[in-house]
Amino acid sequence: MEKNKIVYPYIPNSVPKIREQMLAKIGVEDVEVLYSAIPESLRIKNGLQLPEPLLSEYELKRHVEELLKKNISCDDYLSFLGGGCWQHYVPAVCDEIANRAEFLTAYGGETYSDLGKYQVIFEYASMLTELLEMDVVGVPTFDWLAAASTSLRMAARITDRSKVLVSQAISREKLLHMHNYCPPEVTSIETIAHNPKTGLLELADLKNKLTADVAAVYIENPGFLGTIETQAAEIAKLAHTNESLFIVGVNPISLGILAPPGSYGADIVCGEGQSLGVRMNGGGGLTGFIAVKDVDEHVGELPTLLISITEEEEGTGFGFVQARGERTSYAAREFAREFIGTTTGLWGLVNAVYLALMGPEGMREIGETILQKSHYAKKLLAAVPGLQIPFSAGHFNEFVVNFDQTGKKVSEINKSLLGYKIFGGYDLSKDYPQLGQSALYAVNETHSVQDIHRLSEALKEVAGWTKR
């Protein structure tokens, strides 16, 4: 009893007297008896060597806040970073629902405990299908990386083929994920080049590589380098003629204004939901989705949980229950399609709230605003001496800026921009050496016209063409 004199607020039974009562009820004198099954040789000697605890809540708060203060956030500086995580405006209602204790602390409860949670998941899936023009969406995946890799594996299972063709214009992280996650169902991942002038997919390269063993062609729209792929319908046709599936990755915030992938032939759609009302959280806001058409063998290859609507036996309410659970690894262990588990349920709920708030008009308007602001930024940056816009194709929220003529590296430019309290675009020079010294700039609805001018003025100075 001696060693546990502290009464911990999170541990009600740490009160010595209660602990004694409970031990008495169990019929042992010391808690060590309960550990007697563990061989002495396996026990930790001398306890854990951890720092002295900060027992009061105040001290803890102060300590952690001191650490957090060492961060400089995108609220502190003006940010033009994107590349798979974006600083969009988060409506207050999204935060309100994300922070609801019932949702925040729910877990594996099912129909009779967590009916409300299941209904939100159903509504999440339903609204995404409308945005994507697809028919079925599973519960959220970890992120776009996981959603894309699973989409490729699904295609391999559906077509019984093992090779996939992937646009070169995807993030290096995603390609690394695919290479680790996709074998053994996918044994070969080949990239298709993009045209260095337009930024669009090189159709000749696709045609060359589209052999009889290709399970799927994967593109993103807009692509990782920002460009809107205008040949999407043609790519779909090429893939389908080859009896390959056409998979499209999207940033869903573009789809109030851009054509939904379901309208141009996508068989499987995946993407990143963080842009729909989830805070960046240093990347911890990522959440992926996978959508298919109502083709039974496609739905059957989704490894994720599915929540179906049904009706009360007696009464007026809607019921929501897990559907077709036999597909999942919870039921089938090693015979399942792929493993599943906890992913990003809370962010799926937030996506649902966001789409409900935005509605069709909100989604169209935000698409328009982003398009106009990012094009304005591109225009301003193109006019900065030494800066070039390498791709001629249209873009949505992101575009590539090349700095080769400034004689400076992007890393140097970005370091200098920090002096102006600006986070410059993501440095592409490591991932895409063929683009020289280039950066990916993301502009969205949160950038005011003044913000954009501030960036272009700062770039004029740091690019070294303006005498100060």
Partner: protein, 524 residues
């Protein structure tokens, strides 16, 4: 003295909440969004002119159109029809380690200094969060006894998949990748220990429990060979029985050339008591959303912290946090890494909560967590074992740690009331339906409570009293239990059609089709 337990005559919120898609009122707006300033519009023109014609959306998406108060009310109703851990005595979800997620940690995690970080910022502007990650890694190293930790995996299952990927990379690097294609696990380990190796292409061998509830060393001896890549094993398993022969298991697999992975998703009963190091494991993982108090978030976001030995460090996913004594950095220059398992930095907000939780408890506090969880479980066991209809399988006089898989088999034989009936009836007393078991059910009519350190003696008494009451009802009036819930968010529903693709509808689009089909059949 023991207080008398007063059972609550609970009634769940039953809002009969309509579908958002059917609440739509044309023209209403939930939020207005910023528009481009006049200066921009003049310079750039219409947005539509900026999109190539073939890529313009033709039809607006059929999303609901609703004003803000109605949207908020809808989602609040649905939150009220969800029994999170904060609002109920969440003892039932065994193996999930439902514990209190301290509110101060939520407050800290909502700081814009965390939520408004972009993962690709210059590392000089991320020094606070990198320091937190680095320090938390030091803690997990001590708690596991292993040498390096990755917080990349976004869940326990993804951590196990990452471990399996490392197994594959390790044997491939030694030229034995083709040969070592079998991974061994046990039936009472989480299904992901079977599913993740299969996902990565391994053959899976599952050891079944013997009469004492544990896999036998003889069965393992039969299973290991030059094809063995690894064993993935939990201890204690779902039964709560500590396998004292764990070292022999590890040694046997090592002798055969395989690696040993310790699934510690739930380490709640053994924190500060035992760890991967002493038993000789090469890897282990902890679910930060279970043992380390981060909230479960309606199934995530989550983190499975993966700890490995020095020998396996080089295979860990990208990136790792490094510190040179002055500055924290992200190390991407790791040529042997398996690559990426999760975007960017994983879920740093989970690491922050873990850091704060460990800092609030220290080493002695973590031991108090484990001890209290084990005391709570054995205290609950004392009460449950007196309830008619409950059996404790594999019982040979041993002491269980933090959870126990029980069986209502006797109740089912005596009354026809099964574990899922009991589960539904629990809702009527304000409790989350308990966790039965993963499939297949090795234990008949199973249920698996886990009273973590967060529950008071009174909470446990209440939970046990509900079990006692339901048992009593089952013997006296079994129909009452079978027809439950009576006061839940919804009455009983028939789940069998949901196994059928043609009768389930997982989106509103499918639901509309289903209804149209039913109508056509009725008319025809």
């Amino acid at each position: 003295m023991d207080k008398e337990v007063r059972l609550r005559n609970y009634h769940a919120h039953k809002w009969d909440e309509p579908l958002l898609m059917e609440m739509s009122c044309e023209g209403q707006r939930g939020i207005l969004v910023p528009r481009a300033e006049a200066e921009i519009r003049q310079a750039i023109g219409d947005a539509e002119s900026l999109v190539p014609a073939e890529m313009l959306r033709k039809e607006p998406p059929d999303l609901p159109q609703l004003a803000q108060p109605q949207i908020l009310r809808h989602f609040l109703h649905l939150s009220q029809m969800t029994l999170g851990t904060d609002v109920n005595i969440d003892i039932g979800l065994g193996t999930c380690t439902m514990k209190y997620s301290p509110k101060i940690n939520e407050y800290l995690a909502r700081s814009p200094k965390l939520t408004e970080l972009h993962p690709l910022q210059d590392v000089d502007t991320l020094q606070g969060i990198l320091e937190i990650i680095y320090r938390t890694e030091e803690f997990i190293k001590e708690i596991s006894g292993l040498d390096r930790v990755s917080f990349q995996p976004g869940s326990g299952s993804q951590a196990v998949f990452t471990a399996v990927s490392i197994v594959r990379a390790y044997h491939t690097a030694r030229g034995e990748g083709e040969q070592r294609n079998e991974i061994i696990t046990t039936m009472f380990s989480h299904p992901c220990n079977a599913a993740t190796p299969a996902t990565a292409g391994f053959e899976v061998i599952t050891l079944m429990p013997e009469e004492n509830g544990l896999p036998s060393i003889e069965a393992l001896r039969e299973a290991v060979s030059e094809r063995t890549a690894a064993i993935l094993i939990t201890n204690p398993e779902d039964t709560g029985i500590y396998n004292a022969g764990i070292k022999a298991i590890v040694d046997l697999v090592h002798q055969a050339g395989g690696l040993c992975f310790y699934d510690q998703a739930n380490a709640n009963g053994v924190l500060g008591k035992v760890r991967a190091l002493e038993a000789g494991f090469d890897m282990c993982h902890f679910n930060l959303h279970k043992t380390f108090s981060a909230p479960h978030g309606s199934l995530g976001p989550a983190t499975g912290a993966l700890a490995v030995t020095k020998e396996l460090e080089k295979f860990l996913p990208l990136p790792l946090v490094v510190y040179d004594g002055h500055r924290y950095d992200l190390d991407y220059n790791r040529p042997h890494s398996i690559g990426k398992v999760k975007g960017f930095l994983g879920n740093p907000q989970l690491v922050l909560r873990t850091y704060a939780w460990i800092m609030s408890l220290g080493g002695a506090g973590l031991e108090s967590v484990a001890e209290t969880a084990v005391i709570n479980n054995n205290y609950l066991d004392q009460q449950l074992m007196g309830i008619p209809g409950i059996v404790k399988p594999y019982h040979q006089g041993e002491i269980r740690l933090d959870q126990i898989r029980y069986s209502w088999q006797k109740l089912s034989e005596d009354t026809g009331v099964g574990t899922e009936d009991v589960e539904r009836r629990m809702t009527d007393f304000g409790l989350q339906g308990y966790w039965t078991s993963h499939f297949p059910w090795i234990v008949d009519e199973p249920f698996t409570p886990e009273p973590t350190e967060s529950y008071s003696k009174d909470d446990i008494d209440y939970w046990a009293a509900v079990m006692k009451q339901i048992s009593k009802e089952a013997y006296a009036d079994p129909e009452k239990v079978r027809q439950a819930p009576h006061r839940g968010p919804i009455g009983r529903i028939d789940e069998t059609p949901m196994m059928d693709a043609a009768r389930s509808a997982v989106t509103y689009r499918q639901y509309k089709k289903l209804k149209e089909r039913a109508e056509a059949e009725n008319n025809g």
